[in-house]
């Protein structure tokens, strides 16, 4: 059962992530990113992190990716034409990127093959329990938590300022909803 779910969602995740990278239309790429993220969330649940799975859906798909779609629609980015802005060494760049990615994957495979990781033992309730996670988060990791909160605040303010229309284009508009959403 677990294997079945894993295989299904792993395949889906791989396929959809390929679509994310390959599709020429950013809307489709973004939609398949949603699928990828959802699959990863399912894998999180399988790995005994239901809270993270839920958060993944809530934050990533529910907010961040919506933001992407929003910007795509706002800027009206259409399908890319071919090579209208090619630069010297574009082919080299692509070859390097793809070759590098393949080499990297093979290296990881090699490392995993040589590492001899142990078998998984059964999932423990302690790992899954939400209470333990929250206790860690608000006790041991309180300072990082606060810092991340501060970071988000700064990011929101920064995003609002950056995305605001420059004043010479007319009177400054109200707070930009895209900037303020997160």
């Amino acid at each position: 059962m677990e294997m079945l779910i894993f295989l299904l969602f792993a395949a889906l995740a791989l396929g959809s992530s390929l679509v994310v990278v390959l599709h020429r239309n950013p809307i489709y790429a973004t939609i398949s990113l949603v699928l990828t993220l959802f699959c990863v969330a399912v894998l999180f649940v399988l790995l005994g992190a239901p809270f993270l799975g839920v958060l993944q859906v809530l934050i990533y798909t529910g907010a961040i990716v919506v933001l992407f779609l929003f910007v795509i629609m706002l800027l009206n980015i259409q399908k890319q034409g071919r090579d209208e802005s090619a630069f010297a060494g574009q082919g080299l760049q692509a070859a390097g990127a793809i070759g590098g990615a393949i080499v990297f994957f093979l290296l990881v495979g090699l490392a995993l093959w040589r590492s001899g990781l142990p078998e998984l033992h059964p999932l423990t309730a302690d790992l899954v329990a939400l209470k333990g996670l929250s206790r860690d988060l608000f006790a041991e990791y309180l300072l990082p938590f606060e810092i991340v909160g501060l970071l988000l605040l700064v990011a929101v303010i920064g995003a609002t300022v950056v995305a605001r229309k420059p004043p010479e284009d007319g009177p400054a508009t109200k707070t930009n909803p895209e900037g303020a959403e997160l």
Partner: protein, 101 residues
């Protein structure tokens, strides 16, 4: 039958490589952003997998922080795209190359 942890790690590596290749080859700023999100997710998956393997919560906590930072990154990054688009009417990175000699 339980899934060997290698499979998760390999899946994560594959996703990471797809994301990396995408980020390095695509020209559209948004696409690059999406690829980066893929790479982030692959890293998250690895963290959670190791968290499961070692039976400690630290990996999950780190993923929590990664989620928050990703949210901040997306907000600022997209705002930058909007600002750049206003100025240059494109987010094709081949055309945004002011930082050169």
């Amino acid at each position: 039958m339980s899934v060997p942890i290698h499979w998760y790690l390999l899946l994560a590596a594959a996703m990471f490589c797809i994301g990396a290749a995408g980020a390095l080859t695509r020209r559209n700023g948004i696409s690059i952003f999406l690829s980066i999100e893929l790479m982030l997710n692959a890293a998250n998956l690895t963290l959670v997998a190791y968290s499961r393997l070692l039976d400690v919560r630290t990996g999950q906590l780190v993923v929590f922080f990664v989620l928050a930072v990703a949210a901040a990154e997306a907000a600022v990054g997209l705002a930058l795209f909007i600002a750049v688009f206003r100025q240059r009417h494109t987010i094709d990175l081949n055309r945004i190359n002011l930082m050169r000699w």
